[in-house]
């Protein structure tokens, strides 16, 4: 997808770059045999499970697939809310 500025300047990503970007995503799902819909479901469930134990802001969560050679990694970056830390300390 072209950025706002690209569009303003009348520039679009080259077709080769578009092909590369599209392939990147397609290959991730092909390799783990999981379609994008299932992936979204997994993310939602992951957030749900984690928020059962600690307080998180679902909008700050980043979960993505990463390619490392021919190895796929699920990378989750989940910032924990400070309030949850206070509360858990109290319990201890």
């Amino acid at each position: 997808m072209s950025t706002f500025f690209d569009r303003i300047l009348g520039r679009e990503k080259s077709s080769a770059q578009q092909a590369k970007d599209r392939l990147k995503l397609v290959l991730i799902h092909d390799r783990i045999d999981m379609n994008p819909g299932t992936m979204e479901l997994l993310k939602d469930e992951l957030i749900e499970v984690i928020s059962r134990h600690v307080e998180i802001d679902p909008n700050a969560v980043h979960i993505e697939m990463n390619q490392d050679g021919r190895q796929q990694r699920l990378i989750a970056d989940i910032p924990l809310n400070p309030t949850s830390r206070r509360r858990s300390r109290k319990r201890v």
């Binding site: 077709s15 092909a19 390619q67």
Partner: protein, 267 residues
Amino acid sequence: MSKRVITITSGKGGVGKTTATANIATALAVDGARVVCIDADIGLRNLDVVLGLENRIVYDLVDVVEGRCRLRQAMIRDKRLPNLFLIPAAQTRDKTAVSPSDMVRLIDELREESEWILIDSPAGIERGFRNAIAPADLVLVITNPEISAVRDADRIIGLIEAEEKGPARLVLNRLKPEMVKREDMLSPDDVLELLAVELIGIIPEDEKVILSTNRGTPIVLDGKSQAGLAFRNIAARLEGQEVPFISLESSNGFFGRISRMIGAGGD
């Protein structure tokens, strides 16, 4: 142990498996080795016409497997090179006529009398593909710099690894330097980054390939063709030579840069 049984496969059809098999086999034979190439695409054979040997077929792969002839009888000697042979596929049978263990047995017999055995795999991920990779020491995956071909190549690379036949090496076929320069075609670097495999050759788009197929004379026998040179380089790399990736300069040094990058990233 050196790798002498080479399977050429792709996933997607029509990207150049048969042309690559014919040309790499011919190049290895030009260098003096005894080479047998096998068409494993049962029901859709084509290696015979690409090599110009279609009129000499008597027996085929299925005849050997089913014991109707001896291995030697199914080996067709090339018109030009006396040390190059073809075992054609059966045209009127289907892929289930041969099993992966049949292929392993047949290739074991061939190993004793040939220096190189090249297997032309059918497209797809079914039985025919499994037959073709079962006896392989090394699998070459060929793709075009197109989204569908690259996607299928990735699938096939994964399957090759799952069958413990990896790591596969990549042949990037029909590259158009001018289009890459305009950023209208995936570059070799793009494809290698996406597939995360090691390159063994880049074949530039070359109209002469069609002429050579029309005539049944592999392009490697044309001393002036860029594609022919690229196929000869693949053969040399299989033989263990260190060949720098050819600089496909069409007007400026752009491809020199790309090939240097690949050369540096590769071996």
